[in-house]
Amino acid sequence: MGLFTRRKMAEKTKDESYKIQSTTSLDENLEKIKLLLTDCEDVIYKEFRVGVEQNLKFAVIFTDGLVNKEFINDSILADLMYHAREIPPEAPVLKDELFKLVRYGSIPSPEMKEITSLDDAVMAILTGDTVMLIDGTANIIVVGTKGWPARGVSEPSTEGVIRGPREGFTETYRFNSALVRRRIRDPRLKLNQMQIGRRSVTDIGIMYIEDIAQPELVEEVKRRLKTIDIDAILDSGYIEELIEDNPYSIFPTIKATERPDKVAAALFQGKVAILVDNTPFALIVPATFNAFFHAAEDHYIRWIPATILRMIRFIAGTLSLITPALYIAVTSYHPGILPTELVLSIAAARDGVPFPAVIEALILEITFELLREAGVRLPAIIGGVIGIVGGLVIGQAAVEAGIVSPIMVIIVAVTAISSFSIPDYGFSTAFRLFRFLLILASGFLGLYGMVLGLLLMLGHLVRLKSFGTPYLTPFVAFAASDLKDTIVRLPIFMMRDRPVGLAKDKIRMKNNRPEIKQTSGDKEKGKGEENHDKK
């Protein structure tokens, strides 16, 4: 069997026995690797000789751009090529012990391993590690030399906060796992790694806290990830779509986040996080309807403002769904609901508009969607132009031309602003799309149609599940204690238990707050606090 056939078989069957084994001859190994990496001109082969008599043949192979070249020069090549000459020439001993000497004695690197298969060697080269072949032994040494230009940790651009950490994930998997690990110094925080993608061979990490997360959940995540068979994973979006429960729904059932503190908070609740290489977006499962209304900040600011912000957000969600539909239904079907003066002023504003309210709403909503989409794709410098064109030219001119009524412009503006106050982008998209359905429904059947549309949405939401958790938890599968972190956000010292049904270890804290003595003297007060700190 030829080299490439074997390689394909190994890929297909995942059978170790198909892997090409290395031989003791350096030349042969080198030739085979070169054959496997034909036309990969970014791979660098460096053959050199070691020893006083220069009779020990070595070769290092690595990919240019993926490695830390200084490290290779200083710690691999320099050590072997120069320092090896200082060893007295006891040739026979040296020859037998050569491999061990190099493996354990010569290379000052913490990351080393030995392999015997050329497939693994090729994989190591393409990952950014350096492969070292030694003549006379079939063992191949892999030295960890990964080092490529990477974007540093910066503020997440999609989930900003006013108060709270400003670190966001980057495209480098290892940085990301470290960012989470820094927040959870617990040996029970587990990180299981796997590689997905036949060609891309992307690193995937599954993070969970062992005694908080339900073992069934962890197993299910692993099972779903293992069944993925695809050529490449370019973003966590691929993973999301391949493992989510309801791929045909417009509502996301997996949460994607750029924030390590959000991931840590989710892990502490018993959720499981999936980190993917090459993307700053980590996935959190299970994700519920409720979680998409939460911003990271909610737990960092004081609880009363946080609760009010939550309420505003839920109201905004409702408004972004129903405002245009409600307007259409009331004005064109049930004007009797409104007081007479209001009806008259609406009628006066609509005077001269040639379209029914539905068409009017659709025209403006679609225009707004166009503007939004254009604004996202444009570079920031021209972005301001969109605002001028959209707000002034189209809005003002459309009203003056009598195509739409000014009230409709207000309605669409309120809807747009509301939909932006939903923290999760994918989730607010779902709301935006559903809005169009409601507009049509209320255009046909008035309030009745709107309520039916909302019931359809509810009916859809109750059918959804995210990794076994009903999507509308805790509003359904009712557990009163879980309502503490929904529309309201109770003070942290009241959230003593982790979510019911999600966490295995339910107790979050035993003692809620130190007793704070209301004494007048400053000195005594200080003393009291000190004591409590010691506790």
Partner: protein
């Protein structure tokens, strides 16, 4: 994870009861109560509520004999496979009629107050179509819908009722308790009008992990329903007086229409309440519809129930279009509830219980209560 699509919690059971029993009939309730019970209608409602709670306990007892099984499954044990299946088919047909009645009644109300020019067919079709979608989701979806719509429906409803309360004239309720016996007698045949739907628990208890735990939620659910009916009766009777209340078909809606909230930017609330009331009709249909599809899946021994939903929709649609108008609908309705409903609500479950007890079937003692 584990796709457990066949369990409901006690809390969900209570919600199912409430959302099933309270249907579009509420609008009509005051009319019936006033007609047969006079100014003591609310007292009779209270008494009937208590009677039905006791009846519900009997149904739970029956279900407790067959833990983990639903009515269509154990009735085949009680009276034999073929008669059992025939009976289940009959019940399904009855429930379908019930649903069709519910749909049509709501359509008539909606046509009167919300959509005067929209064809009846469109209103009915749109409503059933949305129901089909939920029914296809299985018992968990049905239970969750009941659970989540409960606060959405009742919180605004009670809020709307509050501003009208000062306008009530409680003297309309006096004298309390005259000729109670006669009134009670006249009201009894119309009890199914208010309480039809409680026999559905025979089906839903089978989905509970421990049927013994059904007593509490069922009791609470029915207490809520009774409280709600009594409240509505008191409001209707005291607002209009027994005589005037019989003149209107839907006294409650007229009452709501006349509520004026000073300072609110809404003038007439009946439109809002009616569009909210879609929800209760919707849940009533969804639970009943689910029972029909589920029963059919047990009759024909299929694994899933969802494939029955869409074809059955056509039947409901057809049945709902049969009455020529509101008068005919109510004439048929009165007759159905007086006779057929009584059979299915009272006679059959009690007979099934008696037979099961006599034959000594199932678990006799409920051990861990």
């Amino acid at each position: 994870m584990i796709r457990n699509n066949d369990h409901i919690s006690p809390y969900q059971l209570a919600m199912i009861i409430i959302m099933t029993v309270i249907g579009v009939g509420v609008f009509n309730l005051v009319h019936i109560v006033a007609k047969h019970g006079g100014n003591d209608g609310w007292l009779i409602m209270l008494a009937l509520g208590i009677v039905h709670i006791l009846l519900a306990f009997l149904l739970i007892k029956l279900s407790c004999r067959f833990p983990g099984k639903t009515f269509p499954e154990y009735i085949q044990e009680i009276i034999g496979v073929i008669p059992g299946k025939l009976l289940v088919l009959a019940i399904s047909a009855y429930i379908m009629m019930n649903l069709a009645y519910e749909v049509r009644e709501f359509t008539e109300v909606a046509k009167m107050f919300l959509l005067p020019r929209t064809p009846t067919e469109v209103i009915i079709f749109a409503l059933i179509l949305v129901c089909v979608y939920v029914v296809r989701g299985g018992v968990e979806s049905v239970a969750r819908i009941a659970e989540i719509t409960f606060p959405i429906l009742f919180i605004p409803f009670f809020l709307v009722l509050i501003p009208g309360l000062p306008g009530l004239d409680m003297t309309n309720l006096l004298p309390v308790g005259s000729d109670l016996g006669v009134k009670f007698q006249r009201m009894i045949p119309h009890a199914p009008h208010a309480f039809r739907g409680i026999e559905y628990i025979l089906f839903f208890i089978g989905f509970m992990e421990r049927p013994q735990r059904a007593f509490k939620p069922v009791a609470w659910g029915l207490i809520f329903v009774t409280f709600f009916y009594v409240l509505i009766s008191i409001i209707g009777l005291s607002a209009f007086g027994a005589k005037a209340a019989t003149k209107a078909i839907w006294p409650l809606l007229i009452y709501i229409r006349n509520i004026n909230v000073p300072g609110l930017f809404l003038e007439r609330l009946d439109g809002i309440i009616l569009s909210l009331w879609v929800i209760t009709v919707f849940t009533t249909i969804v639970t009943g519809f689910f029972i029909v599809t589920y029963s059919l899946s047990k009759v024909f021994n299929t694994q899933e129930q969802k494939q029955f939903a869409l074809p059955l929709m056509i039947f409901i649609y057809y049945l709902a279009l049969q009455p020529a108008g509101l008068a005919e609908l109510y004439k048929w309705g009165d007759w159905t509830f007086k006779y057929i409903s009584s059979i299915f609500m009272y006679v059959i479950p009690i007979a099934a219980f008696a037979i099961a007890a006599l034959r000594g079937l199932g678990v006799k003692k409920d051990e861990d209560f």
